[in-house]
């Protein structure tokens, strides 16, 4: 296995994490790989120190799930000495690690994957439920609000119409009164004026006829 393959395998094992998180983990290992390469270690030695991608992924996923179930932390099979003579924790890959441990690490990853998926599903379901509840409550509030608003608007309109009608009636009565008050003198004025004209005219013609006969 090359380092490139190792990174690809790590990425696969971290499949449940967001892309940014997977890239961040890959960058961390790339940097360590470069530093260890510059320190004189060979690719296989570095990969041996890194351990299997499944093991590395299990560590990252354990942390991502808020746990620290690193069951193999004290496993003798993970211990060893690097070529530079320092005590280091070794992984399975290229280190004669029995299948059992590799299987455990893989299972741990899958288990964590399960937990993460469950958490994600719960989160999505919770968000959907909250969204639905918000939508329904908004609709209910909207309906009740609109009914109340329309009722209030009708009430106000009724009051306005009633007051408007009363005002119109009052105005009509006042106008009628004013008309009557104004019309009566005019009527009698015209009536008596005509009567006066007729009386004066009659008188005039009567006097003319009387004087003519005389």
């Amino acid at each position: 296995m090359t380092f490139r393959n190792w990174l690809e395998e790590l990425d696969k094992c971290l499949g449940s994490l967001p892309l940014a998180e997977r890239q961040r983990a890959a960058e961390f290992y790339k940097e360590l790989y470069s530093d260890e390469k510059e320190a004189g270690m060979s690719e296989s030695e570095i990969l041996s120190v890194f351990g299997s991608p499944a093991h590395a992924a299990a560590e990252i996923l354990n942390n991502a799930a808020g746990e620290y179930a690193h069951a193999n932390a004290d496993n003798e099979l993970f211990r060893g000495t690097t070529p530079d003579g320092q005590n280091r924790t070794y992984g399975q890959y290229g280190n004669g690690m029995p299948e059992k441990n590799s299987f455990e690490a893989k299972n741990a990853t899958e288990k964590k994957d399960g937990i993460l998926y469950t958490s994600k599903s719960k989160l999505i379901a919770g968000l959907c439920a909250a969204g639905l509840a918000f939508l329904l409550s908004s609709c209910a509030i909207g309906i009740v609000g609109s009914i109340l608003a329309s009722e209030i608007a009708l009430l106000i309109a009724g009051i306005i119409l009633l007051s408007g009608g009363t005002a119109t009636l009052a105005a009509g009565l006042i106008a009628l009164g004013v008309f009557i008050l104004l019309a009566m003198p005019i009527y009698y004025g015209i009536k008596y004026t005509i009567k006066g004209i007729i009386w004066v005219t009659r008188k005039f013609y009567t006097s003319l006829l009387t004087e003519g006969i005389a």
Partner: protein
């Protein structure tokens, strides 16, 4: 060593390595390896946890034609470290008690 105990101690160890000066992944492992067992796959989650907790901060700097990530301790990290240091005598008592009981 107990996993939880080791987890806590490793976090403190990492903070202690960057207390005086900034450091990077490979150097942190090299500094800690003679003292405590720590692997690359163990260090990554520790650094991430400490960063999320605000105990350390990071920045990248060019080195040999590539970017290298450096880790710096924050005020929160210093506070944690100081808190641990003050609890050492008490831990020492606990250790002595356990060892006496088992001895």
């Amino acid at each position: 060593m107990d996993v939880q105990l080791k987890k806590g101690l490793l976090e403190i160890c990492v903070l202690a390595t960057i207390e005086q000066e900034e450091s990077y992944g490979y150097k942190i492992i090299s500094d800690l390896s003679p003292i405590v067992e720590i692997s690359e796959s163990t260090l990554y989650p520790i650094l991430k946890r400490l960063e999320i907790a605000g105990a350390l901060t990071t920045y990248s700097r060019a080195f040999n034609g590539r970017l290298r990530k450096y880790y710096l301790i924050t005020g929160e990290g210093k506070r944690r470290l100081a808190e641990f240091k003050t609890s050492v005598p008490q831990m020492e008592k606990i250790m002595n008690f356990i060892l006496r009981r088992n001895g």
